[in-house]
Symmetry: C2
Subunit: 981 residues, 2 copies
């Protein structure tokens, strides 16, 4: 290879002598013709970061019997082809793959690619680590993975590599938050290709396939984004797939009986004519590519060259079709210059109905344990980032470990990863990758803790199986165990900590030696019965902690004879269906009433509101559901078995252990002082038979008059109003799938309300949810299927672990409140605590405290309550990326101001500058396309742009403390790079 | 593309400054290591010149849904990859495709390719127009298509492009004549990969996969050729197909969980070790390629680069495996330098049994009409070549027309063309190509005739449907028709000419106005009954012609009242099964006896020999036969229906018209003065049903005691002795297929004999044949099948034409003689006349003869009788290629000498030089590998070579007539280039 690149480099250098260098970006776009239909031919390859094959299998072209795909060859051959002709273009989308390829390149190859980038011949589009899903992802992880991808591109190539356009061509529905984030990152627009078929039909009629998305009611212009739907998905230019994997007719222009230039040009122009009729400008974009195409790029480019040549030759005969290589950015630039107006869009594009029987809402829940594990990954990533920053970890190993988790989390956001729509072996590989990455980053966290605490041993360990009350560290004894808690939130938080223990008595003390109240409870027997669980610890020690950033608690076993009251919580009673009457479980904030006969929750009282709320499990017996689509055959069947239950009442915690049926159980739990009710469900193995799959929901039935209206979050940030059977701008045909067609992604919260009361359910992972009946909320928790739904994965989603159908465990949280903005604001606080609780590190306590003085950790408690420490991470050897977010919306709060000088100082800041959301572009340089909206007055006569809506922060250490003041409007996120000593 | 090549050219020129140019050929081979197993890795692509797709479909990658294959991309990407690294190699085999690609290349690309050829990086192997079949082809056409391919390579690139090695990797069995021709063309050896499994097993045991083929008993050393069998076919290196069409594991050498360098290297070395055990030197050849591979050559070379790197890295750990890019020539060179001895081989490699139930003998007969049409193509090609030479046709159009037929005939020799093993639509395309090419070349022939005759109108036409007695030219009237006959043979020949006419009386006169005896006979009613035949002419006018090179005969309709005897031949009698006794049909040379009861031939007397010979048709009812394999289920079933027959007796011709059954009929015919019996069969539509296919043979049952021995020709030249159930050097398992396993290709002749009598059957096209029972000969004439045999064509061979199952017509010729060399010599003369009869041109006679003086045609009658004018054709604008052959073998004749000075002068010769058989290499420069044979005494200590075994002719016009003397040993062919004025 060295030889090749030497040749090519020489060639390029030679060529440069005679060629003025083109600017990159929009300046590199080919000229268009004003009075013609301009066909922007966009060569691209859609390369899933795992799907039917693992990431590495796709990269190396391994296991081609599963799917023929080898990304290394795509990049190899595309680069060779781009070198051959400066008119050619290619867009590279998934930075995960590009990075993997780049690091294998010799220096000369890198120089050539850099030149191609600088000339706009290789253009990065999207540019994030993976093309993330938009339903099940949390905004924090989306921001992270864009920052990661764009930073790699910035560091590698500089400004010419910065993507201008979002390219979400495959995700199965589109979130408003994604568009909002694009706007905040300075993107000029986004394109995608999957939209509900009724929506698309309507938009085609209205010339509304392109629009201005008003992606945030709080952020207004800062979140407006031009958004376009590709005409026929991204892989179909009917009859014109020239790829080596396709069989469409090549352009045969030789002296051959088969010469087909005339018919091929006729056909393409006919197609272009059809497409052009649905767009407002005289430009159309025709993507040329598809899944893993361009592995043999010569085939594609050779034929596209001919297509272009012969179509444009027709112009001399009066044809008004002009075709050329282009990119989505160049197309968008032409559209922007077209000065047309566009309709607006205010909601999102969920659910995605590909036909009347196919709403892609199953994947909101598919692979529930993988969706949960991804949250653990994010949790550790934020913890490790903060600890690495605080402790100023800079070794190569530390940088690599942290970077690896960033990358794997980028992979996990991929629209076939977190979605659960990949093959089982790929899911297994994601688990492996994420596990390894968490373990690596955890080493950073531990290195950080060593510098940030004065604990003597420093031998911290994490326990990854606390969800089933297993921890190698405490399995033999919890005597003399130190639990060091790291709080990733800005503000001091209070949380109940649970530690697996044997049935003994323990005493917990804080760093000052003060005894902290604690209790020991039995683990639910359904958990203990898990065959693959080691049964060393059958109980959990519970204590209440309060942590600023880092705090340690010390656990000591005590003899019951030690004159110290046993902290064991005893069973109150076990109820079965012979009992009648009610059981009341209450603490100072919450009162629950359980119906003894049914064994189910009956009433909840909290926040001064009391409401009859029945919680049940229910089953959709389905047949044709798949990993993507949820297809119900009828109404949900509620599990009406009478539930046996046992109550444990301690002073700190009260638990109702419910045995629902052989494969469903639950613990309903309230903690003293915590204003939410926790429902810890355990589901599986789900029984299925040849004709019956089962999809399990948790159902909350209240008397609240919600009238079909409910609310779901968009990627864990803003809330969207949903109305049963309604869509924003079209009529959806819901006859075949009245349930699935009303399902929406719930990343963090679903709620309903009437004039008085509001019921919100918060989740610990992404799930599908809906409100099918008045006053009811449901969340789909787990699914075990019997069919593949035919969208390519070609496997039945029927997970197994340890030889039995997958058993999943998780939590949902109920908050009942008055229906007002204070209530939703309170939910937001709970959301953050659920999303980023303490990370627990375990070590053995020693008698002597270390004398080392720990490094100082910054104190973020001065932040206003609505300000979230969204990101704090090492950005380069001497830079820190720092993001703050006002997580209240315009209904819940107002702009807040605060000063970051002390944080800046604690972090050793020398100067601080503000950037776009992704951290890579100085905010002052941001200039993005503004598109005129329909009905917004006279159209502009020149293209318009948005720039930063506030004065970007850019201050140095020497400046006045007041200069460090930061104001955050509702829902605003601001991103800074702090240069440190 | 221009841009690319500019870059690369610049690059190459730059590189050249620092790189001393490597010699091509063997000098360009990579170094090997003496104490290691040297693995010659040979990148190649096997590109069928038509099979499942047409030639153009393969070239352009059209109809990839039928088969993914695009040769243009193979060459595009291979060239790009070769440029990248001078260590890489690729062999190009099929010149038909290379030429098609080459003409599309811009000048700079041509320069790059030339450089790659000159450095031995792109090496031509085989190099003929197509990789010809070896069973059904005639040697004349093989020589032509090698001459064509090698000439293109010579003209395009010069000496570096000359192939050294034959590469017949796919043909289904191998002929001795092919090896002989290779030797005569100066090849150093040949490789192939299909051999009877029992033969291969035996050879593996004996380390005899490589051998010295003694390919001619007459030519001795001049026809000895090193021949090697590839170890596992040409496409299987198990587990190591890196092609874009394969799914074997790539070499994953990155930082990946999937890194597989160790296991891949282990596996490859294990394979190499296994292979090495079966070869005599420390060199093995591992072909890396397969059908239409390298369409994405980057994938192949990238992985092979890695494979080579990591295997050779092992040497530092003590591994003794050394691997490098190589070519078959480089491998052969290493073997030659290895100075080992090799076993000999004297027979051929037919039939090819791939397993005990699969002898590939069906294709000897498959598509009988296509096989016949190919003969017509050769016939016209020789006619057009000679006429173009005589008339010195040199216009571009004339050159192109002739060249086009040369090329299409090259295509027709392909091992899926003449074999009949292609899909139907491909067969249709071959028909189209060949028809167009014949029509084109015919224009040359006509242009030539215009200059060579003084016929006034010059409006010659050919009739392509004379085989069913249809000619557009005579359909309305044969009055005033001139039939101009061209005799392609060297010597004046005598032949009966048949012209479709209406039932009228005609008079035929020669050029001197002399009346020539003629007769009019009815066409067999089965031919007249063909639905698609226009029935304008129901009779044929027959007259006897005698032609040196060109002669015209004039046909005039005469009134029966013109006092000229009617020349209509009347029916003697019609016999049906109620008759008994015998019918004798005889002329001065031959006496046939027909059994009136059976209606079949009973006795033949000729050449002083009389023998009971029954001719019958017989049917193999088969089920599992396919286009390739003939798989009988039992013995042949003779058609014992009693045959109705009608006898027509004229003075010139006597015919027995037999009605055998509804779909078989025949005319047995003898001509006065012609010493062979003609059997013109008409078969079809062959009935089949779901369980029964039918394969039809003509069977000659004599009383000759042949004891299982019979003789078949090899590609129409030398004869090979066959012995039922016997093979030259191994035991064949014939239990499952005792019939098919005894079938052999018959291109021109099959014979048997005892001490006294000899029976030979000559054919008009290639067929399969055998002698299953003592004294019997059979030829398979036609097949209609019900299954595909699973070798890829994936279609049932069940041809249809005009909506009904194909009806085929053809002739076999019987010669009964005493069993001696004179008899076989006489057969050879007949063979030539059957192979190259007159071509008939038609025109309208005018009353006035043209006054133009026709050009002189050379007179070859001075050639000894055993000398055949094998080739006479324009070679360049001022050169003629001239080949003469002594077609008697060492048993039949001796060396003959003659002088070519008068020919030379008539052709306007200035100088003449002798070349290798293909015409492209001065014979004086030929130097080819000699390999020592087992048991031939002490091995040589240095490599040995063969050079020309006689002094090559090289004379000029100024030299003495004696210097133009040419001697031809038995079976020798000598090739000359005559430079003309």
């Amino acid at each position: 290879m060295k030889y090749l690149w030497s040749i090519l480099l020489v060639a390029l250098l030679v060529v440069n002598v005679n060629q003025s260098e083109a600017d990159c970006g929009y300046a590199a776009c080919h000229e268009t013709k004003p009075n013609m239909v301009n066909i922007h031919l966009v060569p691209h390859s859609h390369d899933d970061v795992g799907w039917l094959k693992t990431v590495d299998q796709y990269f190396y072209g391994h296991k081609n019997n599963v799917q023929h795909a080898g990304v290394q060859y795509i990049l190899d051959t595309v680069i060779s082809e781009l070198v051959k002709d400066p008119k050619r273009r290619f867009i590279q989308v998934e930075t995960a793959f590009f990075n993997k390829w780049w690091v294998e390149q010799p220096e000369t190859s890198k120089q050539i690619v850099t030149k191609l980038v600088n000339e706009g011949r290789l253009e990065f589009t999207g540019g994030s680590w993976s093309m993330n899903d938009e339903a099940a992802v949390n905004y924090q992880s989306v921001i992270d993975q864009y920052s990661l991808g764009l930073k790699f591109l910035e560091n590698t190539f500089g400004a010419c590599a910065r993507p201008r356009v979002g390219w979400q061509i495959d995700p199965f529905g589109h979130s408003r938050e994604q568009a909002s984030l694009y706007a905040q990152m300075g993107y000029d627009g986004e394109f995608f290709s999957r939209m509900d078929h009724n929506d698309k039909d309507t938009r085609m009629e209205n010339l509304s396939l392109e629009m201005v998305w008003e992606a945030s009611e709080s952020l207004n212009d800062d979140a407006k984004l031009f958004t376009g739907l590709l005409y026929t998905y991204y892989w179909e230019t009917p009859g014109f797939c020239f790829d080596v994997h396709c069989s469409d007719d090549p352009i045969i222009d030789g002296d051959s009986y088969d010469n087909n230039v005339k018919s091929r040009v006729d056909d393409f122009i006919a197609y272009a004519k059809k497409v052009a009729a649905f767009f407002r400008t005289n430009h159309i974009m025709i993507p040329m590519g598809g899944d893993f195409q361009y592995e043999d790029a010569e085939v594609n480019f050779k034929n596209m060259d001919k297509l272009i040549k012969y179509i444009n030759e027709r112009q001399s005969e009066g044809s008004n079709y002009n075709i050329f290589y282009s990119t989505p950015a160049c197309y968008l630039n032409s559209v922007h210059e077209g000065l047309m107006t566009y309709p607006n869009k205010t909601q999102d594009f969920f659910p995605y109905g590909s036909d009347t029987n196919s709403f892609w809402t199953g994947y909101f829940t598919s692979r529930p344990t993988q969706k949960r594990f991804e949250r653990d990954g994010n949790h550790m990533l934020q913890v490790a980032k903060q600890l690495s920053t605080f402790a100023n970890l800079t070794s190569d190993k530390q940088n690599e470990d942290l970077e690896y988790l960033r990358r794997i989390m980028g992979v996990m956001q991929h629209h076939d990863a977190i979605t659960g729509t990949e093959k089982q072996h790929v899911s297994d590989d994601y688990d492996r990758l994420l596990h390894d990455a968490i373990v690596g980053a955890q080493n950073n966290a531990i290195d950080g803790l060593r510098k940030l605490t004065n604990l003597p041993t420093g031998e911290f360990e994490s326990c990854m199986q606390l969800n089933i009350s297993v921890c190698a560290f405490t399995k033999d004894s919890a005597d003399n165990v130190v639990v060091t808690l790291f709080n990733p939130l800005a503000h001091t938080s209070t949380e109940y900590v649970r530690i697996p223990v044997k049935e003994e008595s323990y005493q917990v003390t804080d760093e000052k030696g003060r005894v902290v109240a604690s209790e020991v409870l039995p683990v639910a027997w359904q958990v203990l019965a898990l065959e693959y669980r080691s049964n060393d610890t059958q109980h959990e020690l519970v204590f209440k902690a309060s942590v600023d950033k880092i705090a340690s608690y010390f656990i000591k076993k005590v003899d019951s004879g030690d004159n110290i009251a046993s902290n064991q919580v005893n069973m109150v009673e076990t109820y079965d269906d012979n009992d009648s009457g009610e059981t009341v479980v209450e603490n100072s904030l919450i009162k629950l009433v359980i119906d003894n006969k049914t064994g189910r929750l009956k009433t909840v009282s909290m926040n001064g509101v009391s409401e009859s709320i029945e919680q049940k499990f229910a089953v959709y017996k389905t047949k044709d559901s798949g990993a993507y689509a949820f297809r119900s055959n009828g109404d949900v069947e509620e599990v009406d078995d009478e539930v046996e239950f046992t109550v444990y009442e301690g002073a700190l915690v009260k638990e109702v252990h419910q045995h629902v049926n052989e494969w469903i159980s639950q613990v309903i739990r309230i903690y003293e002082g915590i204003n939410r009710v926790e429902f810890e469900w355990l589901i599986g193995p789900i029984p299925t038979d040849e004709e019956t799959a089962r999809e399990i929901v948790t159902l909350f039935k209240s008397g609240i008059s919600s009238n079909g209206v409910f609310y779901t979050d968009t990627n864990g940030r803003e809330m969207l109003k949903r109305e049963k059977n309604k869509r924003e701008s079209f009529e959806a045909d819901l006859n075949q799938q009245p349930i699935s067609g009303n399902y929406y992604p719930v990343t963090s919260r679903i709620a309903l309300q009437d004039g008085n009361k509001r019921l919100a359910i918060l989740t610990d992972r992404a799930q599908g949810g809906s409100s099918i009946n008045n006053g009811e909320l449901e969340l789909m928790l787990h699914r075990r299927l019997i069919r593949d739904d035919g969208y390519g994965v070609d496997e039945v989603l029927s997970e197994e672990k340890f030889g039995t159908p997958l058993i999943a465990r998780g939590k949902v949280f109920l908050i009942l409140n008055v229906a007002d903005a204070k209530a939703t604001a309170a939910e937001r606080v709970e959301e953050k605590q659920i999303h980023l609780p303490y990370w627990k590190f375990f070590s053995k306590s020693s008698s002597v405290s270390s004398s080392a003085v720990p490094l100082e950790t910054p104190d973020f408690n001065d932040f206003p309550n609505s300000v979230h420490l969204l990101t704090l991470e090492p950005f380069s050897d001497d830079e820190i990326l720092f993001r703050v977010e006002n997580f209240m919306d315009h209904n819940e709060g107002k702009a807040v101001s605060f000063n970051i000088r002390s944080i800046f100082d604690t972090l050793g800041g020398l100067e601080i500058r503000e950037t776009t959301l992704d951290g890579n572009l100085p905010l002052s340089e941001m200039k993005r396309f503004k598109f005129h909206q329909d009905g917004a007055g006279v159209s502009p006569s020149t293209p318009e742009y948005y720039t930063a809506s506030h004065k970007p922060l850019a201050v140095e250490k020497s400046q006045d403390v007041d200069d460090f003041s930061v104001t955050l409007k509702p829902m605003q996120i601001r991103t800074f790079i702090i240069k440190r000593e």
